[in-house]
Symmetry: D2
Subunit: 345 residues, 4 copies
């Protein structure tokens, strides 16, 4: 059995991780760590786990003292908080999967510019592997420090990579208009996330300034071979879960919708978790699952491709992909513990 620990287990990503790991046939969770709820029973905080996970949450200090008991550490903390614990874990030979943003960007400068905090582990950046499983599998297999992708980046990079890879779009023309459920804002108590402030409304936020922008650009640039700059606009939608990423790009080749669909199906032909559908994605069809649905349309009038992807932000966009990465890192079948189908309605 793989022995795992979770830092930040009572945020939404951490809780989703606990959900997947509890059922995972090859994993035992040794500790659930929580800053806010240390010393409370896990199932008091999340009653869905009543009689399943009745462990007491531990604080960071206790978590650190248990690092030598585990094989893999999942970190689900706000950015800027993972540096020390990551170093300690790696030093002990524990593999680290960070669900936060601290090791996703290869450039310390870009990190500090967008996140407005100092990066305290620059040395780890070159070894950290960006864990978008479908695009980076070989590197993931060998890594000790895995930077689990952000939710918007996962949806967007999966949507755009095949076209960039095939050099069929104008890389300066990319617009990503993305929509997220409220769980993306986390479980922090703040007025803007109250039911009464989010319900019955939609808004754009962090326009031109969202921190996932450089992460998307870094990976799209890799796919393209050239520097890609995108225009990225996230929106907040009154629902718990789900990301829909509507991506626009000017076609530089004369290509039909059906050709692009074929290209995508071929590109992802061996991937269990990416499905090119004929219709248009809806977040409900992937809610709770690790699946990404991608739908493709060509607007002949303006010669643009419109690629739409849907994921569950807490699963493929966070904890599910983290488990998928763990599976790859530990040589397990990639779908282990992730076979859940979205439940409708």
């Amino acid at each position: 059995m793989i022995k795992a620990g979770i830092i930040g287990s009572t945020g939404y990503a951490g809780e989703q991780l606990a959900w997947f790991l509890y059922k995972h046939p090859n994993v035992d969770v040794e500790f659930y760590s929580s800053h806010k709820y240390a010393d409370m029973t896990y199932s008091e905080i999340y009653s869905n786990f009543y009689s399943y996970i009745d462990d007491i949450c531990v604080d960071m200090e206790t978590a650190i003292s248990k690092l030598s008991d585990i094989n893999v550490l999942f970190i689900a903390m706000p950015h800027g908080k993972s540096f020390k614990i990551t170093q300690k874990a790696l030093a002990l030979g524990v593999k680290v999967i960070d669900l936060g943003a601290d090791y996703r960007l290869k450039s310390k400068d870009i990190y500090e510019k967008w996140y407005k905090v100092k990066h305290e582990s620059e040395g780890l950046l070159k070894d950290a592997v960006y864990g978008l499983c479908e695009l980076n599998r070989e590197a993931i297999k060998k890594c000790n420090l895995l930077a689990n992708p952000g939710c918007y980046p996962t949806a967007t990079i999966l949507a755009l990579t095949p076209m960039l890879n095939s050099d069929m779009i104008d890389t300066s023309s990319i617009i990503v208009d993305a929509k997220s459920g409220v769980s993306g804002a986390g479980r922090a108590a703040n007025v803007a996330s109250l039911y009464t402030e989010c319900n019955e409304s939609i808004k754009a936020y962090a326009v031109t300034t969202h921190r996932h922008t450089p992460e998307i650009e870094q990976e799209l640039s890799k796919a393209s071979g050239n520097d890609v700059t995108i225009c990225f606009t996230p929106h907040l939608v009154p629902m718990n879960r789900g990301i829909l990423s509507t991506c626009y790009a000017k076609l530089t080749k004369d290509i039909t919708e059906q050709d692009i669909i074929s290209l995508y199906r071929n590109f992802y032909k061996d991937e269990f978790f990416v499905k090119i559908i004929d219709g248009l994605p809806e977040t409900r069809w992937v809610r709770g699952s690790n699946i990404c649905h991608i739908g493709i349309r060509v607007d002949k009038r303006t010669n643009r491709a419109i690629i739409i992807s849907a994921i569950d932000n807490l699963v493929k966009g966070s904890a599910g992909q983290a488990v998928q990465n763990m599976n790859i890192m530990f040589g397990l079948p990639e779908t282990t513990g992730l076979e859940i189908i979205a439940m409708a309605p």
Copy 2:
């Protein structure tokens, strides 16, 4: 492998059944039947099943022709529609699990009075077993025709049976104020179930006339040993899934909250799917699972017990319990295929 067929597979209960059976290690589904969507691919109707269930839905005639290939038939149709197919299936030695209301009431007269249709299979009523698993397990093991309980009855009967069984409440004092998500209304296209008509509102409906009333009374009378008449008021809540049943009854004995909690814990001590929690149930903590949470309070000022139960109406209140019943009927471990934990948020 148990070979199963589903009649009415594209309604919400049928779809939830398909979900559980797809993952069930001991079941193969031989056909998915649908009145409205015959000849369409299942995953066109429910895209969450894309690449999982890509079978073509069959019509009733085809379903009938395949009865001899199966061991168990699940019927998820509106009341009054199951009589013929049930008879045919039973005649062929196929076990029948009816998720509808046609075999739940032992009295043909009461059925016809509340449902306003003629009962065409009176002869089957005495053999049909009411499938509230926790309370009727032995009979279920031996039955061929299983009447799967309604959603409100499941939540309410589980909440009230231990107290009635212990003769500690005034049976004429019972009030059940229940609340359901909109999936309880099914997938039929009607104005009252539109998003815009249900959202941002709550209402009571079918006050004094809801058809689940005699079903609840029949089973509570059994538990009590005396005729129980209840006052039952269902409400429609703007959410997809979930039933919360708030049950009130006058205590006839001098008993504390903690005593009642102990009584309930003892009553359900061997039950995996019923959990007596310390706090107050919330439907989100059981959403998607086959679990029933029960919370207990005593109002000393008025000497009433307030028993609150929460289930997912489509799981423990419908398809999940149907699978649980199948497991019992076929000698499988009762939790097989039903181990899912509610996913939050």
Copy 3:
């Protein structure tokens, strides 16, 4: 013009009050006071008021310094916070309308028992008038200190008073199962009110302990002439606004549904804001309005009356009734500024 001030203008009740007073033809608001948002522009906090109310919010000290400029002070603060400002205002001859709970209960002891804070203005309790307009109009006309009713009490007292007044129910049999939208929890940032914690779920809360219980009992006892003790259970519903109060009581007389409807229509025949409907109330039909819809059913099987009332918790349940009270106190037509019809969908 009546000159008004609002203390606590940036909570939901305060904001709703600002909404009504802005349009009120006989009122000028002299100041908007806010603890949390002092020195911010009102429309920065609530952008619906952009270009309408662009005043700077003042702090309590400034509010106090302006008391001599106003005729009426609205206080929308948490309980236990209104004592000093109320005394100051009254001393200056300013009429006070308190939307909080501090002057609703006539008994200091009961207040302190349920609210767990010391009452610092016992002397004012005898003069304070409970402002359920339809039932207490004459006293309201003459009062200087108006205790604006709570949201659950407003819906429940309107629903039950005619029957208690006519002595047709067993006063020990009353059960009130009430449901509220999330705005009832106010605008404070706490985890339990997050979108992701409230959406797609229903729960009961404060079972047997909700502070509105003694308030309802006090007024029902007045209506009955005898001490009334009720069993009151509030629930939280995933919607912004609305209260539905489902009230159960044993009938002591042989009376038909139609007779009770007639009795209610007669009781409220001169009331603009209370409407006895033939169907069953839904909160959406009163959302945004000062109207209370009441629907009536008799359960002949159990000889119970089921009276269901619906209001908007922020309007008739708070700010709307406060304005209605002001109209009465200042001799204006009672509907002035309150003519809004619920907007559907």
Copy 4:
């Protein structure tokens, strides 16, 4: 008093119109016509109007017989249904305000291509005036046949016109990613609009084929002086009301965000219903009102302007603008009956 009739009064646009006209100080509604609910009381269909509008709905024949009694006819029917009644009304000297799509496009061919029905009143197209009040006021004053704009077009045209007018964007670069609440789908009973199908999900729909596309292009081309072709993608959001239109365009001039804001403020300086806000629009802040909020950002990294507009689709996007148009056509102050402020939360 202006005497008005409403055809299609029981759809959502018709009901919203009834709401505004009921309170309008200069209008009497002579008849409410409904295809589906003829002979029913209006308040039975929409209980918010209980004791306000208790008229019996009439059928089309009766409506036609009353045309000579009215001064203005509002038509809120699906496209392709308005031709005959419009002709009859105009022939009798009745002004017509059509909330549908039949007279919005100047080109019969474009209409027939996008709407797939034959246009039976080509002769009226040249006289019909496109009623985007802020941009076409002079023509509206004099017209007899008013084509009330679509919801997406209203939001989008108001957002983009000032920039096109000032020739500061590349007209081939415009992408409009729009989001709508479910009331935009109308009140027809269909599965896709059920609560359970829309809740907790977002999707794009009608990608590259939405019928509002040519309407937006027609008006933007007018503003630009050149043919404008846009890429338009609508999305369905789980909320009742609201449209958010996120518009992207490449800047052709070197201009700052603040310059564009100033340009917009100047462009709309005399407009009561269009407000350029500093922050980012949210649909809740305009819900129920006739206001359009516009927020502006420049993405310097990609040299694009991002203009975001928010309206209530049933008010400024439909019935509210229809009343605004009526006010203009009849020489009334433009805001008459439309002074309502959005109600939050």
